[in-house]
Amino acid sequence: METIPFSKNTDTAEMLEINFGPQHPSTHGVFRMAVQLEGEKICGLKPVFGYLHRNHEQIAENLPYAAVMPYTDRLDYVNALTNNFGYALAVEKLAGLEVPERAEYIRVIMAELARIVNHIAVIGFMLNDLGAFFTPLLYAFRERERILDIFEGVTGSRLMNNFFRFGGVKHDLTEADLAEIKKIIARFPAFLKEFEDLLTKNEILCMRCQNVGILSAGDAINAGITGPVLRASGVNYDIRKVDGYSIYNRFDFQVPLGKKGDVYDRYYVRILEIRQSLKILEQALAKIPQGEIMNKKALPYLKMPRNFKPPVGEAYGRIESPKGELGFYVVSDGTPQPWRYHVRAPSLINLTALEEMCLGQKVADAIVILGSIDIVLGETDR
């Protein structure tokens, strides 16, 4: 096994070197943290990647544009829909494709549902890392199940949705689907209240989370951290607001900001973000127009993916995925395959500051901090 270049020397001091992972119950997959311990205190921590590496980028460079879509599902497999969104956005930018109104609404609805799914699942998993024996996780999964049923009914799959197409979406939302989504939104606040009663004011949770893994706003920006982790540090940066991509600038929603940038803020910002997503969903469901779901110009490419040849050029499409800024950098050389395809994975880049957050904390905190950053190994290792 390779040697990890820790900043402190392990041999001289009374230190213990432990590998958390690649097989460990709390590393959310096959992530490895090489940790230097002095007693229970962390003196050094280096993340080690690549256990789930499958060279996603090269796979994509050898496939037609449309055939990459199912592979993007497998990046962040908790919310495949937002990955689809990012990729579709980048390629539409490249090819200059317009998306019909109704399709935009469907996209937003599905992406926000995916965000809710992700956030409740993350909070559940984080609580598991904190040692709560599956109860919050299973409550979260209970609600997630209903949303996944929607996904299954609409997109055909619960996790690997493969739903977005360049210039539209694959299936239309029927009236029944919309009614079902409305029902879910209606019952969600009650669930959130229950969830908060269980967690938010719990003294043990507060003790474990408050003032743990603090990340200052400046450090967060410099380290390129995005998403709820950044906003927990108090930086008002939400790409839905900043870029207003798709039709997000039509909705009235707010950006919740944390105070200290600790684990508790990251937890609570996610809860608040779920509420904002519900707000967006309500507006989108009220306003969704009738109409086409595919751009007419893009229709023939559904049947002939190899005829889809975007003009020579490059595009960088980014979206606010639940984990942070998910960017797709696509370079076209006028052939059916992308010449260069790169994923800016928030799960990976948010780990840049992992060591600073963990230094001086206890072992148990490192696990919780990792849980609060919210990584998915499919995206981290690609």
Binding site: N62, V242, R306, R340, I349
Partner: protein
């Protein structure tokens, strides 16, 4: 909110006159890679741009040269992106690292080093990110030859036999023939159907 490249270029040329720049498409090519940290630092600190957030760093292989592309945004002013690019020849792929300016480059430059073999000088910890330490080659380069998983090489057979695995004789012969010819077991690239 997009920033027009021409504006950035004008400002840069006025303030850093010795830096050679060229607008490529919607991005700015820094002709001399050594100027890159200066340009980045200027863009980060100039109050007009305040590009404090490096979103994405990636490499690209354009056959005759390698390229490193940087997408800069501003969190303070909420605008962007400004894309910077740097081109280096394949045999001398060295670019100064941006980690001192933007920490977010740390893991991304490691990734570009891993996949393209671009050496980011003065990077604090330039190791492979995804592949293991003694992996040969850089998988995203267009000339990367993938190892054939079906064919064994002499070294593989020695490794297997040291662990008591029986290797079929025809595989051994194939390995011997390969070794005699001085070749590696290279997978057939899937031919790219370009219509």
């Amino acid at each position: 909110m997009d920033i027009p490249v021409s504006e950035v270029k004008k400002e840069l040329e006025a303030r850093l006159p010795d830096v050679k720049l060229r607008a490529v498409g919607n991005s700015l090519l820094v002709e001399n890679p050594d100027d890159l940290p200066r340009v980045a630092l200027f863009l980060k600190e100039n109050p007009k741009f305040l590009l404090d957030y490096l979103s994405s760093v990636t490499g690209a292989d354009y056959l005759s040269y390698l390229e490193s592309v940087y997408h800069l945004y501003s969190m303070a002013k909420k605008h962007g992106p400004v894309a910077l690019r740097v081109r280096v020849p394949k045999n001398k792929a060295r670019i100064p690292s941006l980690v001192t300016v933007y920490r977010s480059a740390e893991l991304q430059e490691r990734e570009a080093y891993d996949t393209f073999g671009i050496i980011y000088e003065e990077h604090p910890d330039l190791r492979r990110l995804f592949m293991w330490e003694d992996f040969e080659g850089h998988p995203l380069r267009k000339d990367y030859a993938q190892e054939d998983s079906e064919t064994l090489e002499a070294a593989d057979i020695a490794w297997l036999e040291a662990r008591g695995v029986e290797v079929p004789p025809e595989m051994k012969e194939k390995a011997k023939a390969l070794e005699a010819a001085g070749q590696r077991a290279v997978a057939q690239k899937p031919e790219k159907p370009r219509n």
